[in-house]
Homo-oligomer: 133 residues x 2
DNA sequence: CATAAAATTAGAATGATTACAAAAATGAAA
DNA sequence: TTTCATTTTTGTAATCATTCTAATTTTATG
């Protein structure tokens, strides 16, 4: 597992330090679209010297190298996702859970965007999830 | 014009004060998806006593009453739009312009969302616009 | 005019994020 | 192993958008 992460990081031009591996592992194991603080609070339990700045630095590096994406579904905290494939999100206003929305990518090939060069696509909804509805 | 705005505000349960009318007028005339600061800088030229807090209060009231929506396409500043119809946005990484994307709303009726009650939909892209491309 | 309610203001507080410079860890060469 | 340069990490301070709060001004009403 760790080794697979190391290879993935290296393949994307990221030196696989212990902290970086742990942050990436958190993202792919929890799949919970965490904020910086959520990652920090979890990891600091095992890495007492961890600095929140390191989590910021690491995530910004992941974004830059394209192995994670930023989600702006929460107005005051950035969320992160290691699933960089084209998909949407749903944030429940009741339980605050963020769901992944697998979607027919053909629906996202818009007509009038011919001349536009798209580098990022963001799609999300808010409302109530089945459990809270 | 002013009168039409007054009626619209009143119809949505908002007392049409001078400041509120001006903020709303800015939104519908400029159609530029402004930040709070952009609105403030423009209006303060004619209303020297204007406070930025008032712009914040006013926009939050508009959101609450449903006559404007928040756009999170800019990572560090919230943008606003008085067009509350379902449409997307495109932010050019070159000129920073935010374009409206009229889109086939049928494409946004996703399959697996049956049990979810949607109250907000957000769709945006980033990249290069035709001029900057 | 008087008075209560609502709107506006200014400044302080909050909180997420970034900047920065020092300290620690890493890795290669001798 | 030791040295030395490079990279990573750290802690603190700075930044900046937004909200809070309490005072002031404006508005509407009797």
């Amino acid at each position: 597992m760790i080794e697979r992460i190391q290879n993935l990081l290296r393949a994307n031009g990221i030196k696989p330090s212990h902290h970086r591996i742990k942050v990436y592992q958190y993202l792919i194991e929890k799949r919970n679209h965490p904020s910086v603080d959520m990652i920090y609070q979890e990891l600091v339990r095992n890495i007492p010297t961890l600095s929140k700045t390191t989590v910021y630095n690491t995530l910004n590096l992941f974004l830059e190298k394209g192995i994670a994406v930023m989600i702006t579904i929460d107005e005051n905290e950035t969320r992160y996702d290691a699933d960089t494939s084209l998909h949407g999100h749903f944030r429940c206003n009741g339980c605050e859970e963020i769901y992944d929305l697998r979607l027919d990518t053909s629906a996202l090939e818009w007509e009038s965007l011919d001349e536009f060069e798209i580098s990022e696509s963001h799609l999300y909804f808010k409302g109530l999830c089945p459990r809270c509805h």
